[in-house]
Symmetry: C2
Subunit: 313 residues, 2 copies
């Protein structure tokens, strides 16, 4: 079922005051480089450093009081684990986060630092899911999927809404595509708050499941996770794929070196820190300059959680 404008209106109210209304930045140097007018929605400045906070807050707020009392559980080695941990803490809810035992200790510490109960497991999807289910059974906690959950998607949509409220005349809105939770939310924002604003996904060639899914008409998997854009290694799900399939205009794929170059341009010219996944849409604009020339192009910079001592350049 396609969410309605009412759903989005409610999600805006629900997250209000609980997430940052992040800045929209422009950069004359990057405009000159592309020939487009670029509007960057800085979710790298969001609480815990990524848009994921929006979906986590919205999903937890939509639980019943009884559900909240039993806590929430997710499995994630990335930003969503941190988002659930911080959102739960801020809402007074217990969070259980299942993490692979080989996850970087800095990430485990971040999740623990937000007060979540971390359970380690083997580094396979099966082990993660099994461990999550066990916690659900033992505690009654509600499971929150990072991207394939309608309340997460509706929370994510608020980033695009905020951008379109400031710049209602965007011709394009570009976001990175990983699990599909951000692009599904964004395309709903564009449908209800844009004026013929086309939503385009940026995706690494190495993990181009969304590109292939739009071609084949069914969810596709990735055979590799070999991309610098570590937030985009996952695949679409049955909750977000129908929305993406119906509303997304196009997926533009980019090479690894294009991602690194785009990231470096944004760091050097905008003086802001973004993670590699966030550079993918700008890489797509650079790759297809003609399409975007003289257009107003919104880009959601999805996050800024990167180990500054281990950069790809």
């Amino acid at each position: 079922m396609m969410p309605s404008k009412n759903h989005i209106d409610r999600s805006i109210k629900t997250v209000s005051g609980l997430v940052h209304k992040t800045l929209v930045l422009t950069c004359s140097a990057l405009n000159a480089m592309t020939g487009a007018q670029l509007y960057f929605k800085c979710e790298n400045f969001q609480k815990m450093g990524a848009f994921k906070m929006r979906g986590a807050i919205h999903a937890i707020q939509n639980l019943s009081e009884q559900q909240k009392a039993s806590g929430v559980v997710t499995h994630s080695s990335g930003n969503f684990g941190q988002a659930v941990a911080l959102a739960a803490k801020n809402l007074g809810v217990t969070a259980y986060v299942v993490m692979p035992e080989n996850a970087p200790s800095v990430k485990k510490e971040a999740v623990k630092g937000y007060g979540a109960i971390v359970t380690e497991c083997e580094s396979t999807l099966e082990a993660r899911e099994k461990t999550s289910e066990k916690i659900q059974q033992e505690t009654g906690a509600s499971f929150l999927h990072p991207s394939n959950n309608l309340d997460v998607i509706l929370g994510n949509a608020t980033a695009g809404v905020e951008l379109l409220e400031k710049h209602p005349d965007l011709d394009y809105l570009l976001v990175p595509v990983g699990g599909g939770g951000l692009i599904a939310g964004t395309v709903l924002a564009a449908k209800y708050f844009g004026h013929n604003c086309k939503v385009i996904g940026g995706e690494p060639f190495a993990v181009d499941d969304a590109y292939r899914a739009l071609q084949s008409g069914k969810i596709e998997l990735n055979e590799s996770t070999n991309t610098v854009a570590d937030g985009l290694r996952t695949h679409l799900g049955d909750k977000n794929f129908p929305i993406i399939q119906e509303l997304v205009s196009e997926i533009i794929r980019v090479e690894e070196e294009e991602i690194v170059a785009a990231m470096k341009h944004i760091w050097q010219r905008m003086k802001i820190i973004i993670e590699p996944s966030s550079a993918v849409p700008f890489a797509a604009v650079l790759r297809e300059k003609e399409k975007f020339r003289d257009k107003k192009v919104g880009i959601i910079l999805s996050g800024g959680n990167v180990d500054v001592t281990k950069l790809p350049f």
Copy 2:
């Protein structure tokens, strides 16, 4: 002669529309880390990436039309060369920038990219000054000193004014101290636009000429330039020292490893790129937490021009 409030009022009008009114950012994580309320004035987002644009624009605008027609000259291996180059370009004035032949080619290219005429010379102060004088004689260009020039100081003051207009009740305003042009301007801003706002300089122990000058009552030199804060290796001058001597509350010195740690905290928690010199005031707050606890503290993040492939962490 101490500049008056009228001088500052005029400088605000002069630079208006020609420099960015940069953002003021806050960060709850860094507030929690220090116990202070911190307000960061983001001159790293200024045109060409540093506050130096303000002084360059103001100084060039204060030349007569005849002077403008003959151009401007400066010698700099750092941000002021870029600032003069871009300011001159934007104002339709010819800029001559003398740079040491061993300056990084990326810096030379940046200055040339802004349209300035670059003259290379030996890497000594004597050679730089001689080359500048020769250009002055040959072209009639006006010499602009990066920090020891009253019009540069008055232009720099506008950063502090903008911060105090947003937050008039700051208890402290901290800036890095190099040649003294920023702190002299800032302390004038605090005198005329603050309410008992104390201005404190942050300085590396390795190049603590300003700290020693305030003790001895005369301009001191540095015996070493061995600091990661490459913008702070110079010493005070006869135009800015009297202002600093009369109005600055204190200089806090910090160790090299404190500068690097402070820089890393700002990168990681604020997701913005600052150069090492800009981290010195925050390092000073971390070093003397008790002084700043529960106080409202403004910090001018002076610039963001750093080679992201050569980081000190």
